[in-house]
Symmetry: none
DNA sequence: TTTGATATTACTATTCCCGTAAATTTAATT
DNA sequence: AATTAAATTTACGGGAATAGTAATATCAAA
């Protein structure tokens, strides 16, 4: 893992670098906010350890800066300021965890692990959309629900993808025809109804919780119900 | 947000439920590990607050169980056991954060926010109108008041949206018929009265503070009164 | 060219919404 | 209090919106 430490006190920095380098981590070090910002914005780290009181730019400001650029990078604030007020300022700036000095090194390790575990877990390796227990594989162009594998034609796929990307919102037939069929005027067609019907047979018919719902006079909405 | 609290001490549980229910959170409570497991495995929560020392099944065991099923659900351990050893056991079981009692409620809130922030990052921001405690969801085309979910037809929705966007102003029936029904001349219709009546039944009838008010000879106005 | 698969249109039965009209209640005015 | 106007409420018929199916057109592959 790649770790960035922003810490001005050389002794503490050395202690951290020493301790972390041991366990298959690559550690980089910045001694002030300026340096920290440069490194953090240029490189991608698995986690950033941030001292609050550092020269040039405060840890809180740096935290905001990093979170506005790469919000997914976990930030662990590491500081002697231990009041609840201080912690709130840190969390408000976007910090993911806040550890008060002095701390036991083992606890730091555990918290780093917990934070990176979540971050890594969240990366979706597969190219899929999920709504309830319905899964759409964008690569294979297949849908799955329960233990059923659902084959889709091109138009069926487009419509289902549209619904899944816009779950929880009502769309009128006109909206749908525009976005999925690229027709920019009302042709008096009923393709949407027909395809909704086909999709329902495929993804809803055999299951108790329905995903495609009609809102009379308004349109269709996808949601678990 | 949907929160599960697993805590056997009723006083602490009440304190947490009280504090969290305030800020648009739905809170459920389990008094022992068994109950906690049932709820956690059956439902999907945005975060689970877990006491370590609870009857039947320990918090650590429960944590492992939950993480083996739904690893993406964040778990915040909440306990009086404050040694580093205890924390390590918690983190090893898969906890995402560990807070030692006693703590300030604000810090708990901040940590809950930090843990759920990442998961909620992808959710689209809510598109809603508010008047008093009445909420109109423009995406779902639904209204909410108290804990009631109010379904609306197309015309009901249009009229309610008109009232909510123009709260605090009196509009004559003619104004309303023009803006909501697109009728540009007086047809002697009483649609407005009829639909106001329908809306009142849906959004005002069961609540002490009314939102739609009649100004005799002038028209209608929406405001909290 | 033929065949099968997919896309689109046409049509019918059904459901549900909308707006009218009439009855009832409430408010304003003399 | 009586009268009149305004507002509320209910009931109902017409008609639009929708589901579902069948028929036709289009496209792709062999």
């Amino acid at each position: 893992m790649k770790i960035l430490i922003v810490e001005d006190e050389q002794k503490i920095a050395d202690f951290l670098i020493e301790g972390l380098s041991g366990q298959e981590h690559t550690v980089e070090h910045a001694a002030d906010g300026q340096q920290g910002a440069q490194l953090a914005l240029k490189n991608k780290y698995d986690i950033i350890l941030l001292d609050v009181i550092i020269p040039v730019m405060s840890g809180v400001e740096l935290c905001k800066l990093i979170k506005s650029n790469t919000p997914e990078t976990p930030i662990l604030m590491l500081t002697a300021l231990g009041t609840t007020e201080d912690k709130l300022i840190g969390f408000d700036a976007g910090a993911d965890d806040y550890l008060v000095k002095p701390f036991e090194f083992k606890e730091l390790l555990a918290r780093i692990k917990a934070l990176t575990r979540r971050a890594h877990h969240h990366e979706t390796p597969k190219n899929t959309l999920h709504v309830s227990d319905l899964i759409l594989d964008l690569d294979k162009k297949l849908a799955y629900r329960g233990d059923k594998i659902i084959e889709l034609t091109a138009k069926e796929f487009s419509l289902l993808e549209f619904f899944m990307r816009n779950k929880g919102k009502v769309y009128s037939r006109l909206d749908i025809v525009e976005k999925v069929w690229d027709l920019n005027f009302d042709t008096g067609t009923n393709i949407v109804e027909v395809y909704v019907n086909i999709l329902r047979k495929k993804i809803d018919k055999d299951f108790p919780t329905k995903l495609i719902h009609t809102r009379v006079g308004l349109g269709y909405i996808m949601e678990e119900r």
